[in-house]
Symmetry: C2
Subunit: 159 residues, 2 copies
């Protein structure tokens, strides 16, 4: 039972931050998405693509299946924000946001506490035996903090 | 054993975010602490006081003992940032930062997994039976995301 409590807590934290981020992006117009969070810093649209790409990568990192949008990594992870980069339009990104998070929600609902404690893909079985706290759940906790980090920046966009 | 793995993960996340925040504040000069993270937004010094006050309040919220600096709430939680507010100096805040986090680290080390799952102070025993995932650990997870949120803003300070 207490294992389930821990999983519930971690998923509540993920869902809570994700809900706030979703609400923030929904509250921004397509024009506001093109604003920088602070002078010379990332635009909201870049942070949106960055979170989509990072979360899409969870599908393979957590060994849940194939990715939906690996093409986003080059634009939103490998390279910094640049107004000259050709990127998907706002409507397309809003759709990807839903797709990727719906797919993740499906998988997360199906994982048992024991499966949450299994190693992630960037780790060997051998390392995992020595460091059992480096597992799917620890990746989720890290990604939850990653949302919060960028959410703190997103709320600086002037409406 | 697996309960300990969950506690280790949550504490690793807290310690990781706290270490990044500590490093960021240490990297800022006292002058830079007076800069706003974005035009018209909070100054770094306010975020520092805000995190100290929030974490000091964990001492009572997690039922670990008395607070060290309850006087900070009025300045850094109740009221928004204001250049006319009289606040402790940078050196004083840097010292409070260490004090509060050393005290919390002591307590956190001593808590067993079962104690992490006990209710926090803002909750009745009755509610906790119905919602066992609202416990000390869930508060810690929330506060870890809270550090990440403000850290995302702090890194916008120009050096």
């Amino acid at each position: 039972m207490s294992q389930e409590v821990f999983v519930t807590m971690a998923l509540n934290a993920w869902n809570g931050q994700l809900k706030r981020a979703t609400g923030t992006f929904e509250s921004l117009t397509d024009e506001q998405l093109m604003q920088e969070v602070a002078p010379g810093r990332n635009r909201a649209v870049y942070l949106m693509g960055h979170l989509i790409a990072t979360h899409d990568a969870l599908l393979t990192l957590l060994r849940l299946g194939g990715r939906l949008h690996p093409e986003l990594d080059e634009i939103f992870i490998t390279h910094p924000d640049n107004v000259n980069t050709k990127m998907p339009g706002a409507q397309e990104l809003r759709q990807y946001w839903q797709e990727v998070h719906n797919k993740l929600a499906e998988h997360f609902k199906a994982l048992t506490p024991a499966q949450w404690l299994e190693r992630h893909n960037a780790m060997t079985d051998e390392d995992w035996v020595k460091e059992p706290h480096r597992n799917r759940m620890s990746v989720l906790i890290g990604r939850t903090n990653h949302i919060a980090y960028h959410l703190g920046q997103l709320v600086l966009i002037k409406k």
